[in-house]
């Protein structure tokens, strides 16, 4: 391992872990919010340093082109969310929804979650990856239930049950992968190292690999929120604190999808094994169709955007399932832009719900009149998320649909129609939320708009002009994936 590179990786993991311990001990909420922000910022800097220095793969950790993209996105959104969380949490303390003790717990859990997600992305050992995803699940379960209301407890319990069943299935799949590798690679750590698995997968027993992939796809797919395994997702998003909804949608779902992608690469390297693509395409498409129709029946604003996350994770899974350089490129781009846009929307929604004191959409009207900045940010965010030009998601969705048309026209028609259905639902709701006579409290919002503007600005910029360096990078990763 090259020395500076492993230091960088060490920092990405050690900073959140150390700050989690520190935040658990610190009683003062002002300092801890600031400490939370500085810790996520340091992690982001360390993640960016990966572009300069990268360690050679070891038995436990690996840095390659694919996970650098994920880690940088993860730490960036983690940082902006911590900025948002600072102002959000201050308000929750004022209204008494959270006590200082719970706040300490909340900050420690936030850093633990960042640690777990970074570990999952950086791990080379598939067992270690599983442990990290489990740790991430555990921390989010605790945070979803933090308000201790009737609804929050039900959501946390449901999330816990479904999440742990998914995690259990994924472990079974991981054991099967090890068994498939053992007869070729030999016993020990190498048989669980992802880079060794991919290299030598051609000689593995196809039947064992097939079975393992079914378990892994269902297991990690539960965490991605793919229909019909999505039932935990809307509740967990709606009942937890909003910064957690932003991190769940923007990051944790990506981490689970990343795990699926890792195993997809192993499957594709074996010519005798089942093609993983069609399985992912069908689960993805099912999620898109299902979620876009479900969007119409939502009354709770956070729940509605949670369904939109199911839809978008479906689109991304669909794109990666189609495979090929173009679809993979579009999938990566869509994933990045969705993370940015959806977390920006949740930042807005968090402030809106605090000002209005409700999450029911029927009680929220005329936001652009009563709170112009907040209202128009929400409008911009929704315009981006439904895929209207000139925002970046238009481009990635366009790429996915057109590249599918060339290969599977029927699927492209279904996908395109579902996108239109979702667009209709979201614009319909947005019309009620943002325009008309203002309803409810009109007091000014004490919001931090920097994270929202930063995210939406990036999404807008991506729609106008993608930096060539980024395009080359994504193209390179996409060709490696296919």
């Amino acid at each position: 391992m090259s020395e500076p590179g492993s230091l960088v990786v060490g920092a990405i993991l050690a900073v959140p872990a150390a700050s989690a311990a520190l935040l658990a001990l610190l009683p003062d909420d002002r300092t801890s919010a600031r400490l939370n922000i500085s810790a996520t910022f340091l992690t982001l800097v360390a993640a960016l340093a990966l572009f300069v220095e990268r360690p050679s793969p070891g038995p436990y950790l690996i840095v390659d082109d694919l996970n650098i993209a994920f880690v940088v996105l993860n730490t960036f959104v983690g940082f902006t969310t911590s900025v948002f969380s600072g102002s959000y949490i201050a308000h929750e303390l004022e209204t008494g929804r959270l006590t200082p003790t719970y706040l300490r717990f909340y900050h420690a859990m936030y850093q633990t979650l960042m640690f777990a997600m970074n570990l999952a992305l950086l791990s080379n050992n598939v067992g270690l990856m599983w442990v990290a995803v489990e740790l991430a699940t555990l921390t989010t379960v605790l945070m979803v239930g933090i308000y201790r209301t009737h609804a929050a407890l039900e959501a946390a319990w449901k999330y816990f049950l479904l999440g742990s069943v998914g995690i259990a299935l994924a472990l079974f799949g991981t054991i099967l992968v090890y068994l498939a590798a053992r007869s070729v690679v030999g016993e020990g750590l190498d048989a669980m190292a992802w880079n060794v698995l991919v290299e030598r997968a051609a000689a593995f027993d196809p039947a064992l690999l097939n079975l393992s992939f079914v378990f892994l796809l269902l297991g990690y797919g539960t965490k991605v929120g793919l229909a019909p395994l999505h039932a935990w997702l809307p509740d967990a998003h709606a009942e937890g604190p909003t910064p957690i909804s932003a991190v769940l949608s923007g990051l944790l779902l990506n981490v689970a999808l990343f795990a699926v992608l890792r195993f997809k690469a192993v499957m594709s390297a074996n010519s005798g094994a089942l093609a993983p693509g069609p399985l992912m395409v069908s689960l993805g498409l099912l999620s898109v169709v299902f979620a876009s129709f479900m969007l119409y029946r939502r009354h709770d604003i956070k729940r509605m955007f949670a369904y939109s996350s199911i839809e978008h994770m479906g689109i991304i899974t669909f794109a990666f399932g189609m495979g090929g350089p173009l679809a993979n490129f579009a999938g990566l781009l869509h994933m990045t832009l969705h993370s940015l846009t959806k977390s920006a929307i949740f930042f807005c929604v968090g402030h809106i719900a605090q000002v209005k004191g409700t999450q029911q959409m029927a009680d929220i009207r005329g936001l652009t009149v009563s709170h112009p900045v907040l209202g128009w940010s929400l409008v911009l965010g929704v315009v981006a998320i439904v895929g209207l030009p000139p925002m970046g998601i238009f481009m990635s969705e366009f790429l996915i649909v057109t590249s599918t048309f060339a290969r599977e026209p029927v699927l492209a028609v279904v996908l395109g129609l579902s996108l239109l259905v979702a667009l209709g639902a979201l614009l319909l709701r947005l019309n009620g939320l943002a325009f008309g006579e203002p309803l409810g409290s009109q007091q000014p919002a004490t919001a931090s708009f920097v994270p929202v503007f930063a995210h939406l600005g990036l999404v807008f910029a991506a729609g106008i002009w993608l930096p060539p360096a980024l395009v080359t990078w994504f193209q390179h990763v996409a060709s490696r994936l296919s």
Binding site: R148, E154, V165, L171, L179
Partner: protein
């Protein structure tokens, strides 16, 4: 590996499937706890046997953890919680016991039919062990979906974990990750018991999850 070692390993793994069935037909909470302790005991013995025949001393640690934590600490802790909360009544299953047992038999047949041909190359010990482990996992899932009661669901989940431990130890030479994951599952179990049961008690005076289901978030 000699024939006897194999037969004994299969005996324990098969015994675990049998105990999983016993979990399915328990209709009293305390009975359920006792059978779960037995379940953990069988896993522990089975893992210890694997440690002996594979000459893998680190598996004894896994066996000891399973024995101490799952066969003693957790059942005793749950027992005390239940007594303190005063919820020791009968479990009402969602589906009748008879249908659940039939479904369980179907699941065992399914896992044997799936596993035996696929894992044929992996060696006799692993092959049967995996088939039994998958049966235990599926029976645990069945238990989780056929009971409304939070305690039964936690026990169903822990029996799934026992099945996974059986599979992981049967896979000879699997690296240290087994221990980490076992430690994690214990953590999960403790958190569930510590946090959720108390919180649920605080709010609803019952651990029957069906009272939670009456709430429908987001719908007026």
């Amino acid at each position: 590996m000699d024939r006897l070692a194999l037969d004994v390993a299969h005996l324990f793994a098969g015994g675990l499937v049998l105990v999983s069935f016993m979990l399915l037909y328990q209709d009293r909470i305390f009975g359920l706890l006792n059978i779960f302790a037995l379940h953990a005991l069988v896993v522990s013995v089975s893992v210890a046997w694997q440690a002996y025949i594979q000459q893998a001393p680190h598996l004894y640690i896994t066996a000891t953890i399973a024995l101490v934590v799952k066969a003693f600490v957790i059942p005793v802790a749950l027992h005390r919680i239940i007594v303190r909360l005063g919820i020791h009544r009968e479990i009402d299953p969602v589906v009748g016991i008879g249908q659940t047992m039939l479904a369980g038999i179907g699941l065992v047949a399914l896992s044997i039919m799936v596993m035996l041909p696929i894992a044929a190359e992996a060696g006799t010990l692993v092959r049967e062990d995996l088939a039994f482990a998958l049966s235990v996992v599926l029976l645990g899932l069945l238990m989780m979906i056929s009971r409304h009661n939070a305690v039964s669901q936690v026990i169903g989940f822990m029996s799934i974990e026992n099945g996974l431990i059986l599979a992981a130890t049967g896979a000879k030479g699997m690296p240290l990750v087994v221990e980490i994951s076992v430690a994690f599952s214990i953590l999960v179990a403790l958190i569930v018991i510590g946090v959720f049961l108390f919180r649920i008690r605080e709010r609803f005076d019952t651990v029957d999850v069906s009272t939670l289901d009456q709430y429908r978030g987001g719908r007026p």
